[in-house]
């Protein structure tokens, strides 16, 4: 009766001549999230005042939050990368939050979407690492103070861990989103099933209350996952900029 994984199916809305021209629900909701973000931020900076209004205060607080996060985690040298980090944070947060609108589509639950972002981070980290540190960047695979006889064991492990990073970064976000939405759908399904029982229909209140609580938790998780994605990007960037 309940098919909790059905909501993650990507279905075409407008079929194009090529696969990459096809408009799916994924495209539509990504566009909606980006449009909402752009609207909020354009409104926020359209009439700048010394004493900010609501919109401007929201934009400024968000920016300062990510800026201090970047500075604390990756140091002052990471501030030139602020545009990318800020974009990643806003993009993930907006997609996570908009997926909580009923009948919308959880874009970040698609592994392909999150994998693109995390592979971008990996490529950036490798590029920045070799640009800033040169060949010394490779030294991060050899932790300081390792006995020489452990090196053949540690170095491959460090290399494997390094290339697992984008994978875990992507799966963490996608799995959290999938789990949250499955949970929401399960409890919504319980409500519907209990309403179907004639005498016990009133008991549907309990899963309904749980549903509201879980929904509130999911709003928190949506923002938390965006924060974690951003922090880990900064941590990886820190290693590329300053060494291990």
């Amino acid at each position: 009766m309940i098919d909790p994984l059905h909501q993650f199916a990507v279905s075409p809305i407008v079929t194009g001549t090529h696969a990459f021209l096809t408009v799916t629900n994924q495209t539509v909701w990504t566009g909606a999230a980006v449009a909402a973000l752009s609207l909020i931020f354009l409104l926020g900076v359209s009439r700048m005042r010394l004493v900010p209004g609501r919109m401007q205060a929201f934009v400024e607080l968000t920016f300062e939050f990510v800026q201090s996060l970047t500075r604390d985690t990756a140091g002052k040298a990471a501030l030139p990368f602020m545009p990318l980090i800020f974009t990643i944070f806003l993009f993930v947060a907006a997609l996570n939050v908009i997926s909580l609108v009923p009948h919308s589509f959880a874009v970040t639950s698609q592994f392909a979407t999150t994998a693109y972002m995390s592979v971008l981070v990996l490529v950036m980290v490798i590029g920045v690492g070799f640009y800033k540190q040169g060949l010394h960047f490779v030294a991060m695979f050899v932790p300081k103070g390792t006995p020489w006889w452990l090196l053949p064991l540690i170095t491959p492990l460090e290399i494997i861990l390094f290339f697992c990073r984008p994978f875990t970064l992507a799966v963490r976000l996608a799995a959290n989103m999938v789990a949250g939405h499955v949970l929401l759908e399960m409890f919504a399904g319980f409500c519907i099933m209990l309403v179907g029982l004639k005498w016990l229909a009133a008991t549907a209140v309990f899963p309904m209350l749980m549903l509201i609580a879980i929904y509130a938790l999911e709003v928190f998780v949506a923002l938390l996952q965006a924060y974690i994605f951003t922090v880990l990007t900064c941590v990886y960037l820190n290693e590329a900029l300053h060494g291990h």
């Binding site: 985690t73 875990t168 970064l169 799966v171 799995a175 974690i228 880990l232």
Partner: protein, 81 residues
């Protein structure tokens, strides 16, 4: 309960996926320990919070990676193999 009577591969797949998900237990314990110790440390020395938070997130990424590997293996057993 004769196992040799099981001809439906789906049953064994579901069992295998469930067994593979046991690997998440250790990660759960680890996350609890890491966060508990973090709160303890910040309670003792609140000035260190920002430094510790960075290390916490690095550690959390490593611990959670184990759970994610278990999750992926479970998903692979169900959908890929």
């Amino acid at each position: 309960m004769a196992v040799e009577g099981v001809t439906d591969l789906g049953v064994l797949k579901a069992l295998g996926a469930g067994l593979a998900a046991i690997g998440m237990v250790g990660s759960g314990v680890g996350l609890g320990l890491a966060f508990g110790k973090f709160f303890e440390a910040v309670g003792r020395q609140p000035a260190m919070e920002d430094r510790l938070k960075t290390y916490l997130f690095i550690g959390m990424a490593l611990i959670e990676a184990i759970a994610l590997f278990a999750f992926v293996i479970a998903i692979m057993i169900i959908f890929v193999i």
